[in-house]
């Protein structure tokens, strides 16, 4: 997540990659605004999770699983369900990830992906209420990176969106003070979709969908959540403390909106293809 750079990358690597960019090229041959091959595989945890998706972004792989539980609503929103994104950075996925409780990069990943879902109002939590003040559906979208070659946020955001939009869960109704299953399966109340797109600044160049090597030398990244109507729903500057000019921010927004259109299309087609099966 760009926070590992000092440990691993020398100034030589930095100069090499930045110098390459000065000549208009990225080290893996992509154009500055070109993303890596992007794939969504649905229902990879079909037997246990209510929804699931595996996303590959080049060699980066992330799985998101959705669980729908019953729980009590929060005191300040008694008639709304709960939606939450969590993330771990399991040491299985990279030599850079460590054992132990989630550290800042895992927390940021979860919170940024969560913000994309929440701020786009992807799920209508008002429809996740079984009995006001008593029982609501709690939707957990949990993210597990499996192979980390850069840009976990975008891969995770896409996996979460796909998993949420294809989840099926058991309906419950309120009877005599208890939630009882009706035997019916429901879709989540999806009312929007948002995907996150990350642009890295390396030197004064902006590149989309940074690979691990690029993340390691980046000055910072800007992640932008874009919804179906091209509205910006969340932003996060992170991945280093390098500052951005207003122009760089505006350019990044434009790159993100373009990429988001492709990703929304990819989600739609993937879901359509699944229905045919």
């Amino acid at each position: 997540m760009g926070d590992y750079s000092s440990e691993v990358i020398s100034n030589i690597d930095r100069d090499y990659i930045a110098g390459f960019l000065d000549t208009g090229k990225r080290i893996d041959g992509r154009a500055f605004n070109e993303c890596r091959n992007t794939e969504i595989e649905l229902d990879v945890v079909a037997a246990k999770a209510e929804g699931s998706a595996l996303v590959r972004l080049g060699d980066t792989a992330v799985i998101a699983g959705v669980k729908v539980l019953l729980g009590e609503p929060y005191g300040d929103s008694p008639d709304k369900g709960v939606m939450m994104v969590t993330a771990e950075l399991p040491p299985l996925a990279s030599p850079l990830f460590e054992l132990g409780p989630p550290k800042e990069p895992a927390i940021e990943l979860a919170r940024v992906v969560d913000r994309g879902v929440r701020e786009s109002e992807m799920i209508d939590t008002a429809k996740l209420c079984i009995e006001p003040g008593k029982k609501v559906y709690m939707v957990f979208a949990d993210v597990y990176p499996l192979d980390y070659d850069g840009n976990l946020i975008d891969a995770s955001s896409l996996a979460v969106a796909a998993a949420l939009q294809t989840a099926k869960f058991d309906e419950y109704k309120w009877e005599d003070g208890n939630a009882v299953p009706t035997g019916k399966k429901l879709d989540l109340p999806i009312q929007n979709s948002a995907v996150e797109v990350t642009v890295s600044r390396i030197g004064r160049h902006l590149v989309i969908d940074p690979s691990l090597k690029e993340e390691m030398v980046q000055d910072c990244r800007l992640t932008i959540a874009v919804d179906k109507d091209d509205k910006l729903r969340a932003m996060q500057k992170g991945g280093g403390s390098g500052p951005l000019t207003l122009d760089e921010i505006e350019t990044s927004m434009t790159m993100a909106v373009d990429r988001a259109q492709d990703l929304h299309k990819l989600i739609k087609e993937t879901i359509k293809a699944r229905k045919k099966k």
Binding site: I107, A234, Q236, M253, V257
Partner: protein, 271 residues
């Protein structure tokens, strides 16, 4: 723990906000430098009802050692809210939100510092939110920036910060608590006082691209104003110190300019 109620409007028919401000008007800001005797540097900020203290310790030896960075000081920011600073009691243990904000604050401040002057050391910035009424991460940066200067940490520039946002279709500067909660978007920003480059940028809500660009422009204008308030607070603090020591105030002012000027140059070389 009063049950909260959503106000019936955030912008009144005259175009004024719930606390009577114009859309581009920031809340009253009171900045004080040198408020914690035990700290190497400190500052407090009251921005509306938001009340925050910042203390700086260091450069000093870093524990645990494995966090040491060989070629520069480690800037450790810790943003914490008092349990009683919010309507419901916050649990005492650091939340994920507090940890994320600590991280973005560190990122916001770092480009303003010459951390390479103190390899292997730590500069600690401890931020305590006493009362949270909107815009705490930006207010915290405003105060932390002064506390760093008060501690004599070599700086390229001060870092002003402000949140812009939206409510009922209008772009707003320096969101208050209700505007943040019930409005349509929140964009906390920080910038380098000298170059205007952005060091903190987050957003939620819903904005068209053009709208967001316009909002950020308003933010920059507000931050320029806050930068002046920061400079004045520093001067006041220094004047007081100097007055006590019986020296001339103006001299310091010159020094400050010079220092920041040098910092800028060094900064440009460095970026």
């Amino acid at each position: 723990m009063s049950p909260e109620t959503k106000p019936s409007f955030l912008i009144n028919p005259e175009g004024l906000r719930i606390d009577g401000r114009r859309t581009d008007e920031i809340r009253p800001i009171e900045l004080k430098v040198g408020v914690i005797k035990q700290a190497d540097g400190s500052a407090s900020i009251r921005q509306g009802k938001t009340y925050i203290l910042a203390a700086v310790y260091g450069p000093r030896e870093l524990h645990p050692r494995h966090l040491t960075i060989n070629d520069r000081a480690y800037l450790r920011c810790v943003y914490r809210m008092a349990t009683f600073s919010v309507p419901d009691r916050k649990r005492p243990a650091p939340s994920r939100r507090e940890r994320e904000i600590s991280m973005v604050i560190a990122n916001a401040l770092k480009p303003a510092l010459f951390l390479e002057d103190y390899p292997r050391a730590v500069v600690d910035v401890f931020i305590q939110v006493i009362q949270a009424d909107g815009g705490t991460r930006c207010a915290a940066i405003n105060a932390a920036s002064l506390a760093l200067a008060d501690a004599g940490i070599p700086m390229k520039t001060l870092v002003p910060a402000v949140a812009v946002g939206k409510a009922e279709g209008k772009l707003l500067v320096d969101l208050g608590d209700e505007e943040d909660k019930y409005g349509g978007g929140d964009v906390p920003m920080a910038m380098l006082g000298t170059t205007g480059e952005i060091t903190l940028l987050q957003q939620d809500g819903s904005f068209a691209k053009e709208e967001l660009v316009e909002a950020m422009g308003m933010g920059v204008t507000a931050m320029k104003y806050i930068l002046e308030l920061q400079k004045e607070a520093l001067k006041r603090a220094y004047a007081k110190k100097v007055a006590i020591e019986g020296e001339d105030v103006d001299e310091y002012e010159d020094d400050l300019e010079t220092d920041l000027g040098e910092a800028e140059i060094a900064g440009e070389e460095d970026e």
